[in-house]
């Protein structure tokens, strides 16, 4: 059970990114966060593993208050939370295997890892993770030689190395084309269903939200303006959609042959 209580984030320049956000996520859920750019989706996800320190509120995961964790404890928590980014955030000049192995840094001896030494089982695990996302043959290439879709799969493999109980995905498909978007989200869905990994994912395209989400929350100006179950999101009307995204919003389909409104 994962709970967020009255989470608030105000940046140094006075911008209020999150305002009194509270919600709960049951284990094994695929929660999708929707909202405009700047609505606070990224800030919310980064507050969960404290890449950004919240200004107020609590984040409680199985009884542990992440928002109050000490640095050592925080690292213990972080290594159980995989994270996937819109721009992949891979080290482009390193090879694929090194990037995947870096997902293991929270587990290995910090000193020997500085010399890029990893236990043999970790290397096997990395190859297995790459195989799972279908790019085992690219293991020794430099990341910048890979296509966008392949890079995001490296990102997933890196998250897998953490043996996570939760995955945070910050617009994982926003820089990919529609076909690749489905393939990446299918990987996440499989992890969610087969290994019961909780997924918190921010998405833009309503089609994708309707296809993958088991629950949805909508953010606008740092506040939750919509909560819906799988069924509710599938039945979402244009009116509700425009409540979240504003009056100018137009539904765009990510599937090439998608319907026209």
């Amino acid at each position: 059970m994962f709970q967020i209580k009255n989470l608030t984030k105000i940046y140094d320049d006075g911008t209020v990114a999150l305002r009194d956000v509270s919600f709960e996520v049951a284990d094994g859920e695929f929660l999708v966060i929707i909202g405009l750019s700047g609505s606070g989706k990224s800030t919310l996800l980064r507050c969960i593993n404290r890449l950004i320190d919240p200004t107020g509120g609590q984040i409680i995961w199985d009884g542990v208050d992440i928002s109050a964790a000490e640095p050592a404890q925080l690292r213990q928590i972080r290594r159980q939370i995989g994270m996937i980014f819109q721009h992949f955030n891979l080290v482009k000049r390193s090879n694929v295997l090194t990037n995947v192995l870096s997902g293991r840094l929270g587990y290995v001896n910090p000193w020997s890892s500085l010399l890029h030494r990893f236990p043999a089982e970790d290397r096997e695990m990395a190859m297995a993770a790459l195989k799972r996302v279908g790019i085992a043959d690219q293991a020794h290439k430099r990341v910048d030689e890979l296509s966008g879709g392949q890079q995001q799969r490296v990102g997933i493999a890196r998250a897998l190395m953490q043996q996570p109980r939760m995955i945070l995905a910050d617009e994982p498909v926003a820089s990919l084309d529609p076909v690749l978007a489905h393939s990446i989200l299918e990987h996440l869905e499989r992890l969610n269903q087969e290994e019961k990994i909780t997924v918190l994912c921010s998405l833009h395209y309503l089609d994708l939200v309707q296809r993958y989400a088991t629950r949805v929350i909508g953010l606008r100006d740092g506040q939750i303006v919509y909560r819906g179950s799988r069924e509710e999101i599938r039945a979402m009307t244009d009116r509700e959609f425009k409540d979240i995204y504003g009056e100018e919003a137009v539904r765009v389909s990510v599937v090439p042959q998608g319907r026209e409104e």
């Binding site: 690292r75 928590i77 290594r79 980014f85 000049r93 840094l105 500085l114």
Partner: protein, 509 residues
């Protein structure tokens, strides 16, 4: 009239055109300012004041001894009318033009007109030509003077090899001046040995006498020098040795005196006793000596001293540049962290440290390595170590800035991603920061190595060791061939390095 911009119509001139013109006649630019063209007025005023100032300075240079402005001007006019009159005329024309320009600017709907600035530029150009003493005539007529040294520098390799020489000498003593005692007797002739005899064996040296402010040379006693027993048909040099041991090859009408021996190895030549200054403190009879010398090359060709010294110093130069680069890299890495805004923006204290470091780097970098070499020479003395210090100091400042800028421009994404895996701070630096730093780091370091080796070739000019030191020595000794070897070595080294560093950078980046 309404075709001009509306802005102009919204801000009409404060005064009528004639008033503006007269205002600019008294204070150049004032009229333009009154016509709401303040910037134009200020520019013209500043230009005119500067031009008049430069002109006054040049006039006073032409008449340094005169007192008072009027006297100076008259003297300058007398000395260089071709310079003073046209410039003065142009300045007056410019002044009037500025007044006319003010008149035009004040008219409604008028604007722009850049011809006045063309005149300003032309005046600056003419004065600049004079101040920097540009003299194309001299360049054209005296260019041929450089032919000798230049050809030796361009092709110096005759000086790269040498042979051992063997000198055959024989001489005869000459007394100067003659006295009551018998003059030195001629040397004893041994058959088969070189032998020289002079007649007479005493006489007067050449004298230099001042006559009506002009130095004139009164030739010394004419000597007949006869030689026998030398190598036949070989060039023989005539040398003079004075009582204090100075030897020099004699000249006649500016040329070194040399004669060919005949088939029997004999020669005869007439010479005037040369001009010599003998210290008055030297006592006793002044016995000079005339010598005949034959120089012949023996043995195999071998590398000359000039070549050896150049090789030695070239190696020193390259090593000097490398050491400076190495130290520069070692010290600039920690400095660059202090000078990276993104790493130091945490607290006011670190920000203060950031600004201090940045300022220091900028100051150190703006001082040329040559000046650092002079300062270092004061501390550790002349030599390569001073050069290493100078180049290291400059490298730290230059690399510190470059490194810190590349730290500032790294992608924060991977840092975030590695932090999210539960990595420690050190692991994050190692996995997210360092890989991004490597390409600029390698690139800048090699670039600096390139610069340092190039700089180390000239740092010797101020005593910082390396080949530059040798080069200045050779040039001062007018030994252009040896200097040419140094120049060639420098050119080859720099070109090679240029190529190598470009190759390495291409591979890494």
């Amino acid at each position: 009239m309404a075709t001009r911009t509306t802005k102009r119509e919204l801000q009409p001139s404060l005064v009528s055109p004639p008033v503006a013109g007269i205002a600019s006649l008294f204070i150049p630019g004032l009229g333009q300012a009154l016509a709401r063209q303040v910037q134009r007025g200020l520019t013209l005023f500043g230009s005119l004041v500067t031009l008049v100032g430069l002109f006054a300075w040049q006039v006073s240079l032409l008449a340094t001894r005169e007192q008072g402005i009027g006297a100076k001007f008259v003297k300058a006019l007398d000395r260089r009318p071709a310079f003073v009159i046209p410039i003065l005329a142009l300045i007056v024309i410019l002044w009037l033009w500025i007044a006319w320009d003010a008149y035009r600017q004040a008219q409604p709907g008028q604007r722009g007109g850049l011809s006045v600035f063309a005149l300003v530029l032309a005046l600056f150009f003419i004065l600049g030509w004079k101040i920097s003493e540009i003299n194309l005539y001299k360049l054209a007529t005296e260019l041929s003077d450089a032919k000798g040294p230049l050809s030796r520098v361009l092709w110096p390799w005759e000086a790269a090899v040498t042979r051992d020489v063997e000198t055959t000498v024989a001489g005869a003593d000459i007394l100067s001046p003659c006295d009551d005692l018998p003059p030195p007797s001629p040397p004893v002739e041994t058959p088969g040995e070189p032998y020289v005899v002079a007649d007479p064996t005493c006489g007067d040296l050449s004298q230099q006498v001042e006559e009506g402010g002009v130095l004139k040379t009164v030739p010394g006693t004419l000597l007949t020098v006869v030689g026998r027993g030398f190598e036949p048909n070989t060039e023989t040099q005539i040398w003079w040795s004075d009582p204090i041991g100075n030897k020099f090859q004699m000249r006649q009408e500016g040329r070194y005196l040399a004669i060919m021996t005949d088939d029997e190895g004999a020669f005869q030549i007439e010479i005037h006793m040369p001009y010599r200054l003998i210290p008055p403190s030297s006592e006793g009879r002044q016995v000079h000596r005339v010598e005949a010398r034959q120089v012949s090359s023996v043995g195999d060709l071998k590398f000359s001293d000039a070549l050896k010294h150049n090789v030695e110093k070239m190696v020193e130069t390259i090593v000097l540049g490398m050491m400076a680069t190495l130290f520069g890299i070692i010290f600039s890495v920690p400095v660059s962290f202090l000078a990276a805004r993104n790493l130091m923006s945490g607290s006011p204290l670190t920000m203060a440290l950031y600004y201090i470091t940045r300022t220091l780097l900028n100051i150190v970098r703006s001082i040329e390595p040559l000046i650092w070499a002079i300062l270092a020479g004061v501390i550790v003395g002349l030599g390569p170590f001073a050069g290493v210090i100078a180049l290291t100091v400059h490298s730290i400042a230059a690399l510190g800035k470059l490194y810190s800028e590349s730290i500032e421009s790294i992608d924060p994404g991977p840092i975030e991603a590695i932090q999210a895996t539960g990595a420690t701070r050190l692991q994050t630096i190692m996995y997210a920061v360092v890989p991004q730093m490597i390409p600029p780091f390698v690139s800048f370091s090699i670039y600096r190595w390139d610069i340092n080796v190039r700089m180390s070739t000239v740092i010797g000019l101020v005593g910082g060791g390396g080949i530059g030191f040798l080069l200045t020595q050779y040039i001062r000794l007018l030994d252009y061939r040896s200097a040419g070897i140094a120049v060639w070595f420098i050119a080859i080294t720099v070109a090679t390095l240029d190529y190598v560093s470009a190759e390495i950078r291409q591979r890494f980046v």
